[in-house]
């Protein structure tokens, strides 16, 4: 094919691309991507079947086995390690850190099946349309339980009772438009005094709060207050509990009195979807999850433009947005030495995932029952276990010292403390030297497969070249290599040599930053 030569790219560039587009890639995937090129890889990923979690939960239920929160985490790992859709899994995890729900919440943790269904909803919409995603998030009972609009009732002025404002506030602040008016490049619109201009005020929130009333479980018994908990179907509108009357939305939009509650919800979702902030708001958040903590205004603007119009007149096409983020020149061009703020710190927990995927972690039994019981403390993080709806870290977190002094953001540093910096390194050592879980019979223990690395360990340079390509996209500096070589040449046992090498890379500052 004529395009083949043009499409091919170096293994190092392929590795760098995959460090942004996946949760980790092994040697073979890096070589394959190098051969087919980014465009073919993306087209292939967009067409892949979806690695859903709920079927794995349902299979347990059908077998009469118990289902606890840790079984949902097994399902997460199974799809992340074995699923057919690495790009989709990467994007869904990013979405789970924007449209946050968490099993740290008691009610949410009661339904692993519902939480799996919520995550599957993110997977399904990851390459779909943002408007569908925002509606599905809004109507999902897990979100309803998490942000308390499930069973939220209309106002009863006579007794001074008003609708719950929780979801109304967070859908605007965190899921769609943010606090301040944005230009399409993501920078603030400012008033004459140079101040940012709020996108909404508390009156707007009380209006939106009225919209999100009357929603409850869609169980067969159709009961608003006591209905059977049906966690895998969208919430149902119970008109008698929905706030009647006119509602004022943003930018002069009015919801008329007398229409159905669900039409109110659709109108509110539309109002937010059409808001000019959404493109730059979502663009910046996704770029921060996938590529860099500090995208240039131009980068945000290019992705926001794709959000506004995918080229075929469609607004909100997330497939176009994901592609735009990954193929943008700012994502593809390696930083030069003077660009000392580009890229991002690897998310603490994603180092664990990266090692597992890079070295084909598996168990003898073929399943991957990893429960990550202590991860929230050890890594400061575990997927779908954020302490609050604000995610594990804030998009505008600025560590003090050189990063803050330079006016840069580095969200992932918010969970790197004197405790987690060390406990996560220790956990990675455990993963490299032992297993990712515990099974007294060993068959279920998930271990890294280091066969190919051990085979070349007699040549420390060859070993480091390979590890540099797989784990660091060929960015290892000469001084770092010298430190590692000095250590490796003091170790005779090939197995120990390989494990020490990976262990040292895993705690090295150069590995910690995806550049």
């Amino acid at each position: 094919m004529a395009g083949t030569a043009r499409a091919a790219t170096s293994p190092a560039e392929a590795s760098r691309f995959l460090s942004q587009a996946t949760l980790g890639a092994d040697w073979e995937e890096i070589q394959r991507t190098s051969r087919i090129g980014f465009d073919a890889w993306l087209r292939e990923q967009f067409a892949r079947p979806i690695g859903y979690q709920q079927p794995l939960i349902d299979r347990r239920l059908r077998m009469g086995l118990e289902v606890t929160p840790e079984h949902r985490r097994w399902a997460w790992w199974e799809q992340v390690l074995e699923g057919p859709d690495p790009l989709r899994q990467r994007v869904a995890l990013a979405l789970s850190e924007i449209f946050v729900v968490s099993d740290a919440n008691d009610t949410v943790s009661q339904s692993p099946q519902g939480l799996a269904n919520y995550y599957d909803m993110l997977l399904r919409n990851a390459f779909g349309n943002y408007r569908d995603l925002l509606r599905d998030v809004t109507l999902h009972p897990i979100m309803g339980a998490y942000l308390s609009h499930l069973r939220n009732e209309k106002s009863y002025p006579a007794i001074g009772r008003f609708p719950d404002e929780n979801y109304a506030r967070e859908i605007m602040q965190l899921f769609s438009i943010g606090l301040f008016q944005l230009k399409q490049d993501g920078t603030f619109v400012r008033n004459g005094a140079g101040q940012p201009i709020p996108t909404y005020d508390n009156d707007d929130i009380t209006q939106f709060a009225k919209i999100f009333t009357g929603l409850a479980f869609d169980g067969a018994d159709r009961n608003f207050h006591q209905g059977e908990a049906e966690w895998t179907r969208p919430m149902r509108m119970y008109e008698e509990f929905h706030e009647p009357g006119v509602k004022r939305l943003l930018r002069g939009r009015i919801v008329p009195a007398g229409q159905s509650g669900m039409r109110d919800v659709e109108a509110a979702v539309d109002c937010l979807f059409r808001h000019p902030n959404v493109g730059p708001f979502i663009a910046r958040r996704l770029i921060q999850r996938l590529v860099t903590s500090n995208p240039s205004p131009g980068y945000v603007a290019r992705v926001a433009a794709k959000f506004a119009n995918n080229g075929r007149g469609v607004r909100g096409d997330l497939k176009a947005v994901v592609r735009a983020i990954l193929v943008d020149p700012e994502a593809r061009r390696r930083p030069v030495g003077s660009e000392i703020g580009r890229g991002m710190l690897r998310e603490s927990f994603l180092r664990r995932v990266h090692l597992a995927r890079a070295f084909d972690a598996a168990s003898l039994a073929g399943t991957t029952p990893i429960d990550d019981g202590g991860a929230p403390e050890t890594f400061g993080q575990r997927p779908v276990s954020s302490p609050t709806v604000f995610n594990f870290f804030l998009p505008d977190h600025q560590p003090n010292g050189p990063i803050g002094d330079a006016g840069l953001f580095a969200p992932e540093f918010q969970i790197i403390t004197a405790v987690t910096a060390i406990s996560s390194a220790n956990a990675l050592s455990g993963q490299i030297r032992g297993a990712m879980n515990y099974d007294p019979a060993n068959a279920l223990e998930v271990r890294l497969d280091l066969t190919d690395e051990i085979a070349i360990a007699s040549n420390p340079n060859a070993l480091l070249n390979r590890l540099d390509l797989i784990l660091m996209a060929g960015t290892m500096s000469e001084p770092m290599r010298e430190v590692l070589l000095r250590a490796l040449t003091s170790i005779d046992d090939p197995d120990e040599r390989v494990r020490t090498a990976i262990e040292l890379i895993a705690i090295a500052p150069e590995y910690a930053v995806v550049k």
């Binding site: 942000l147 308390s148 069973r151 939220n152 009863y156 007794i159 001074g160 009772r161 008003f162 609708p163 719950d164 404002e165 606090l179 508390n202 929130i205 009380t206 030495g337 703020g341 890229g343 991002m344 710190l345 609050t388 709806v389 604000f390 600025q398 003090n400 010292g401 050189p402 990063i403 803050g404 330079a406 840069l408 580095a410 540093f413 918010q414 969970i415 790197i416 403390t417 004197a418 405790v419 987690t420 910096a421 060390i422 406990s423 390194a425 220790n426 500096s477 770092m480 430190v483 590692l484 000095r486 250590a487 170790i491 120990e496 705690i507 500052p509 150069e510 910690a512 930053v513 550049k515």
Partner: protein
């Protein structure tokens, strides 16, 4: 050697980076002050208990006399606690009303009676003094992101609600005072709850520990051949020169954590066990570790320390009655146990604990809980506290009162600046230097010294004999 020189470098950087003559003079002043301090131990610690999510504190401190209780019961509806269930307290000064505490805080009621605990009413973030008319007509600047969790947590910790400051007021104190502590590896700001803005300074980082103490890198510094190789390699990797700011910062965090652990773990190992019994809750275990750290203050070489401990889950849009009944007793017991441990350690006058939270909550109900609001009630505990009283101004609770911006979202009558100023002064920040720590304090604090303070600290003078 290497470790000490690193801290020296930071010390120099702190003066250079801030670069103001005023701050430089302050550092000198405090060094002189330390030199002149009276005989006896000069040690003070501030402990911030952050109740994240925004505690519904109008069910913590409730008027029990009529007609105020009736106003309370009317506005709160299904969120009202029964009048007879409230734990009575007798404030030293009366505003004509009687008050009670939430039924779950028996220990706090006792501490209040023993004058170890003070309450401060209707505290919140303000950019400047604000009336309802000014709020409505937009003639005053308001805190950015009013009623939003992330913003209000930030403002409560930075005390600069007119901008988004990643630097907190304990961090600013540490930037000034750190030189008074002689340990080069451990910050005077210690967090039991990870990263926080309160303790983040421009140059000073806080040190994070867990309820079990500090965390050490596996195998580091051990004597087996493999450990020696790995230790050298870790030192080598962290000692490289990094241009990229993220790599530089990551290396500094790792290096700092490894070094601090060596000092911290050996200091804690030398502390005799506490006789005080702590409950088996995460919060009590954290307070136990704070007490142990205070007990190790001389080995750690600390004269001033702050501690940050956060307990989340107060965002009760739902089930506020049920949840507070379960959560407030945990707080009450942990605080009382901590106070008992301070008595055991004979430092009760040298440690002051205070609460903070995102915001108060709406007085009116949403049918199951309450929503984000503004002013709220807070607690200060310690031997230096003029306890047994309610400070500030407890507001009217009926809807539509002169502080109500809607649904019982009350404009605070005491600003966070005023609340923190008394704590900072007690901690040792000179009055003249208060604006370095609380830049907006001048908008709230004027007049004679006696009329300036809220008054919940007995003695704000720095020197104190033992």
């Amino acid at each position: 050697m290497e470790r000490i020189s690193r801290r020296r470098f930071l010390g120099q950087a702190s003066c250079a980076a801030v670069g103001t003559t005023a701050l430089f003079n302050t550092v000198l002043d405090l060094k002189m002050f330390n030199a002149l301090a009276a005989p006896g131990e000069d040690y003070r610690a501030l402990v911030c208990l952050f109740l994240s999510g925004g505690i519904d504190s109008f069910n913590l401190l409730v008027p029990t006399s009529d007609p105020q209780y009736q106003e309370y019961a009317t506005v709160r509806g299904d969120l009202a606690l029964p009048q007879a269930s409230l734990l009575p307290i007798l404030p030293a000064t009366s505003d004509g009303r009687a008050y009670g505490l939430h039924p779950g805080v028996v220990e706090l009621q006792q501490l209040f009676g023993q004058q170890r605990l003070a309450l401060v009413a209707n505290v919140g973030t303000l950019v400047e003094p604000t009336t309802l008319a000014q709020f409505r007509n937009g003639s005053v600047a308001l805190p950015l992101g009013l009623f939003s969790h992330s913003d209000q947590q930030m403002h409560w910790q930075s005390s600069i609600p007119d901008r988004r400051s990643p630097i907190g007021w304990a961090g600013r104190i540490a930037d000034i005072l750190e030189t008074g502590n002689c340990n080069p590896n451990i910050s005077m700001n210690i967090s039991l709850s990870g990263m926080n803005i309160w303790q983040t300074g421009r140059v000073t980082n806080h040190y994070t520990i867990t309820e079990n103490g500090s965390e050490g890198l596996w195998d580091y510094g051990e004597l087996s051949p493999g450990a020696v190789i790995r230790t050298q390699a870790v030192d080598g990797l962290l000692g490289l020169h990094y241009q990229h700011l993220f790599e530089k910062t990551f290396a500094a965090r790792m290096r700092g954590a490894i070094d601090a652990h060596l000092d911290f773990s050996s200091a804690i190992a030398g502390v005799p066990p506490l006789a005080t019994v702590f409950s088996n809750t995460g919060l009590s275990r954290k307070f136990r570790m704070i007490a142990l750290t205070i007990a190790a203050r001389q080995a750690l070489c600390m004269k001033r320390q702050t501690f940050f401990v956060e307990v989340g889950g107060w965002d009760h849009h739902d089930e506020v009655i049920l949840n507070q009944a379960a959560m407030l007793p945990v707080i009450s017991r942990a605080l009382a146990e901590f106070q008992a441990a301070l008595v055991e350690l004979d430092v009760v006058d040298q440690v002051t604990t205070f609460t903070a939270s995102d915001f108060g909550r709406t007085l009116s109900s949403n049918g199951r809980g309450s929503d984000h609001a503004w002013g709220g009630n807070h607690m200060v505990m310690g031997g230096a506290v003029a306890g047994g009283d309610i400070y500030g101004s407890y507001p009217d609770l009926y809807l539509g009162n002169s502080l109500d911006t809607g649904r019982g979202r009350l404009i605070p009558t005491t600003s966070v600046d005023e609340y923190f100023a008394d704590l900072a002064l007690w901690f040792g920040v000179p009055e003249a230097d208060l604006p370095l720590v609380l830049p907006n304090i001048g908008r709230f604090r004027s007049g004679s010294p006696s009329s300036r303070s809220i008054g919940f600290v007995r003695d704000v003078s720095l020197t104190q004999g033992s």
